[in-house]
Symmetry: C2
Subunit: 419 residues, 2 copies
């Protein structure tokens, strides 16, 4: 069972936007056993759209198309689909009612004929209800294959995937089981790791694939297994991971869940009615925005002080001015004072702090670019670690956030064990 994704829109091809839709769609398809064979991004251009539809239909069973469904002239996906399926447009009354209701409720400008025309649907397509927007999704069944078109607006597309597309595919296609398990390792580079597990890798059965995913300090090993029986597959993966543990158990840090680490941490905190705050210098608010991205974060996240200026570390976090003068603003002592200060100021159980030089210049400290201290305050202790995260700003900030999350997760788990 193979799928292809076609994203349509000049804005992707000129680099004005990043295509985040494809990753979301691919992930959702994978979960239900549909593998994505290719993702193709093309312009709003008739010939190219028709050729891509033809190419994809020769390789895949499910073709998912996003973009090009707006009401304006540069959006030609609907027209091209009509041409591809030799179809014509008819008014869909239910879609029209939904569009009128959206305008009444949320949109200040009066409804126009162009908006009403979004209710025109190819006669061979089934309309997929788009709760958050005026362009309906469309589902075509054609020679045993499904062609599904959705708007490119991410939150509209996401709701359509979850409520219409995934249930539709589950109902209409029998699919193999695809399972992934990702093992997180630290402390060995990609190639040293690869040499160490070479024999194990060579012995993997052909329906289990291994991928190395090095990322800012950790190497994740992703096992992907394809088969018919979920129980058998899961058992096989678990056995392979057990063998792997015998070889490199000392550097295996954990296993990747479906969820991001901030979601896992959020759950641990909320379950224990614990709270968190952050004091961020070199991470610049990135920790706070990661935690608050998820709904429900107000249950555990009290706040963050992004204290970029040294003065605000002193005034708002009550880091002693002498300490900064004596130890430097990028130091273990200041990181710990920041974590303690945040924990006290926000009245939380846990706090994380970051202070460092992300570069490219040295800033208020004499430490080398890439030097970062991460501090953690828990109900029972305060500690910090020093890191050298290299010579590139993006890398330094990214690694700081990853490492802070890991240190916090560890600290929460240890605190839980101790109590």
């Amino acid at each position: 069972m193979k799928a292809e994704i076609i994203t349509i829109g000049d804005e992707i091809l000129i680099g004005q936007i990043v295509d985040t839709n494809s990753a979301f769609i691919a992930k959702e398809l994978n979960k239900i056993g549909v593998s994505v064979h290719q993702i193709t991004s093309i312009q709003d251009e008739r010939d190219h759209i028709l050729a891509s539809l033809q190419d994809a239909s020769e390789r895949a069973d499910i073709i998912i198309i996003t973009g090009g469904l707006g009401p304006t002239k540069d959006d030609i996906t609907k027209k091209c689909l009509c041409e591809f399926f030799d179809d014509n447009l008819v008014r869909n009354e239910e879609v029209l009612k939904h569009i009128e209701r959206l305008f009444e409720k949320y949109i200040e400008t009066p409804i126009s004929d162009l908006n009403r025309d979004q209710a025109l649907m190819p006669s061979k397509a089934r309309a997929l209800h788009n709760e958050y927007g005026t362009a309906p999704g469309m589902w075509f069944d054609h020679e045993g294959k499904a062609f599904i078109s959705m708007p490119g607006v991410p939150y509209e597309m996401k709701a359509l995937m979850e409520r219409e597309v995934i249930p539709g595919i589950i109902q209409n296609f029998s699919r193999p089981v695809i399972l992934h398990k990702t093992v997180i390792t630290y402390g060995l580079g990609e190639s040293a790791l690869s040499e160490k597990i070479e024999d194990w890798e060579d012995d993997l059965p052909s329906h289990i694939k291994l991928a190395y995913l090095p990322n800012l300090g950790k190497v994740r090993l992703r096992l992907s297994a394809k088969g018919v029986d979920e129980v058998v597959l899961r058992d096989e993966i678990d056995r392979q991971v057990a063998v792997l543990n015998e070889i490199i158990g000392d550097i295996i840090y954990g296993y990747e869940e479906e969820d991001e680490i901030e979601v896992i941490i959020g759950k641990m905190l909320a379950d224990n009615k614990w709270t968190l705050s952050t004091a961020e210098s070199c991470s610049g608010g990135r920790l706070a925005s990661n935690f608050t991205r998820e709904p429900g974060s107000s249950a555990f996240f009290n706040g963050s002080l992004v204290c970029y200026a040294t003065e605000s570390k002193i005034k708002l976090l009550e880091v002693p001015e002498d300490l900064i003068r004596e130890k430097s603003v990028v130091s273990a002592e200041v990181a710990e004072a920041m974590a303690s200060g945040a924990r006290k100021k926000f009245n939380t159980d846990f706090a994380i702090s970051t202070t460092g030089n992300a570069g490219p210049d040295k800033g208020d400290s004499q430490e080398d670019v890439g030097t970062v201290f991460i501090g953690i305050a828990t109900p029972s202790k305060v500690f910090s670690r020093k890191f050298m995260f290299g010579n590139h700003r993006e890398k330094v900030v990214g690694k700081t956030v990853n490492k802070a999350m890991e240190m916090l997760q560890d600290a929460i788990l240890k605190h839980k064990d101790d109590n």
Copy 2:
């Protein structure tokens, strides 16, 4: 002059990572007059890689390939390129020296044979120096076309693009001029806008294309012109925009620069030696992390208080408890008190605040989900505006950030005019 981008890696096809590389590459190519015809993402799979190289070479003059250059077995791009060009691997001494130097300086694990093998290069390729990593870029000239392979690690790829690939293309290919100008409008929906400018749009010459980019409250109109003479093209675009101004001048807010709005604001602030702080409730640190993403932000950004909990608004920003009780935490008065509080606490010239319900639940206030107040404090005044940003968390936060940036930019410009 057409280019295609091929990104190789299972992690993209299973949705484990978002392909941000393509947008960056496309943008850089566009700047030098190379248009991207197609972006194709495929798995680390021999047949598919070879077929994609063949397909792309039939359509494009420049083929850029990212990914699959790691030292481990799942990375097969180099092998496939050898096969495609009927080539063999030879050791490149300069690359080897660079790899050994990187290991000496930054990497704790000892260098392995697999790492040394990264210095093996196809004999027909020219090595492109990868400052930040061990896998060199590769440039093949083949039948008048360029095939350029780069690692998929974003910061390695970016440096290679800037230092090696773009200069190489400029030197080796004569290119047309491509110019974009993006007009930012507010206040009319995509379709209402389209109806209003229909005649103008129909009269555009065929070498100028128009695209509508609706995004969280604003509709951007992007004009793209292709030709041979930059001066003539720029003049043509400017004339078209002047005509557009006669029709919808009242809703044109500005023109998009190459830079993001936070970079533009940062420049305005730094040029005037003004400083900024933020007090973020519903934006959760997103404003701070946007501002601090760029190097040099410490020149103007003093810090942010992410006060998710009502208590921290009172304790840390000194928003009067009575005011919150009387007016609700989501109110104009509280937004203004937060902005004033941040301005005072961080000792800055300007401050932005956000307070609202991003949903899905109502939180500490009785206001509807989607209600957001944004406050601005300047050296001469404090004000706020109320918004209703709809029923979707991601949308509410995104619109809040966009609108806050716009309000701040306006306020800075007005303050500058007044002084």
